[in-house]
Amino acid sequence: MTWLIKALDFIGRLSLFGIRVFTDVARPPFEGSQVLRQIVEVGTKSIPLVLPSGLALGAVMTLHTRSTLVTFGAAAMIPAVQALAFFVEIGPLVAGLLLAGRMGSGIGAVLANMRATEQIDGIESLSIDSFKFLVVPRVVACMIALPLLTLFMDFAGLLGGFLSEYLSSRISPELYITRAFNYIEWSNFIAPTLKTAVFGYIIGTVSAYFGYTTNRGAQGVGEAATNSVVVSSLLIILADVFLIKCIFFLFPENAI
């Protein structure tokens, strides 16, 4: 039973931590410059991870789907399958998981290091609300950066798919794009991209929780980084199931 109590205790603490982000974000002072700083920090530094990953995934997906679709005489559908798969699911989910590693470990380690070196105490001693100053901007930055980075992932995936298909069939870019977007509705694109804001909230909140609340000194830095990635990734996958159900409920045509 001890593990159950610990698990419930953790869920309760994490939930309260996450709720506090929402209550504090609406309370002045608004940390605009900190949010911008964090977007630059976590966002721009993640682009070199997202773009090549998207390109490679796009190419691999086309290589796999091509043989099947050609067998059924549906080679013309390759761009549409590629675009639909990337915009609806692969782009958002893989971007979420990749960035859980990149951003989650970074936020967890930085905050844990700040805790271990008394920098957070230093902020508090200066009458500055450390939660609002350190945690809230990071979570908000993740919520803004994730959808933007997902777009990079989507279009890199499409480009990777095109390059792969071009090498096989010499398809022109115009035809590829036309076929790719033939079957895409706005609801296929907007809702799945925006759901990554929830992934960003999960990454920001979970990793900030582990970093901000650690009290295990230098050892806590490594633990916070690891726990941030593991728990964020798990919660992203679980949340994805729920969010897809929500999208299907709001946009029933997507469920077909």
Partner: protein, 246 residues
């Protein structure tokens, strides 16, 4: 300096424990405005915890901690924030924000907590940095500073809001005798020129003898001696005598 009468800081029957480990037991003392109190004691006897209780980074299990007329243990967030503005805290390892330059470290509290203009903030930062001899280094990151420079930078940050009470946690630890003496000199200047109350946790008896109006000795969570240096030298408590003489 202050319209407040009575102690700048007062501990009243404070108990603090971490789990089974009792850190402070029924500790009471007070520090008057403009007075310097040095806290001595063996490692792990609750000296740093005492400072953290004053700044309310920790809460007492029982008893009261007062900053002027505020019992900090029961203050709400906004009131606590106001009370903390009377304090400056020099951390043991300076605790500078490693993602900000030295200038940004000092400007941060001024930007957040005062209505000073950018020019006024520049002037205030330069004034404090010149007091600690670091004006030329203001654009450096904390990682580029030596141990002594970091200590002085931490002191500058603690002083930038012109606090009435300065808490210093082992200001001379890890420093050579000359640099430690320079830090002591800076602390003394604050006391003499600004009337700042000082509470200094230290293992450096030489420095404590220079700075302190009174010395308090903690041992196993108890305050075993508290008074002027001469009184502590004649204390009946053996730990207090050994600490002050050795």
């Amino acid at each position: 300096m202050t319209d407040h009468t009575g102690p700048a800081v007062a501990f009243k029957h404070v108990y603090k424990a971490f789990g089974e480990k009792h850190v402070l037991s029924n500790v009471s003392f007070s520090v008057e405005p403009g007075e310097a109190l040095c806290l001595l004691g063996r490692s792990g006897t609750g000296k740093s915890v005492t400072l953290k209780l004053i700044v309310s980074l920790l809460k007492p299990d029982s008893g009261e901690v007062w900053i002027e007329h505020d019992n900090v243990g029961i203050l709400k967030e906004e009131q606590l924030s106001r009370a903390r503005r009377k304090l400056g805290y020099l951390f043991q390892d300076a605790a500078l924000f490693d993602s900000l330059t030295l200038y940004e470290n000092l400007a941060l509290p001024l930007t957040r907590l005062t209505s000073k203009s950018a020019d006024e903030i520049d002037a205030a930062v330069d004034r404090v940095l010149s007091e600690v001899g670091l004006v030329a280094d203001k654009n450096k990151m904390p990682a580029e500073l030596s141990g002594g420079m970091r200590k002085r930078a931490g002191l500058a940050r603690a002083l930038v809001l012109e606090p009435k009470i300065l808490l210093a946690d082992e200001p001379s630890s890890g420093l050579d005798r000359i640099t430690a003496s320079e830090i002591d000199e800076l602390l003394l200047r604050q006391k003499k020129e600004r009337g700042t109350a000082l509470i200094v946790v230290t293992h450096d008896v030489h420095g404590a003898r220079r700075i302190a109006d009174r010395i308090a000795v903690l041992d196993k969570g108890d305050l075993v001696a508290c008074g002027p240096v001469a009184d502590v030298e004649r204390s009946e408590n053996e730990v207090a005598r050994r600490l002050i003489w050795e």
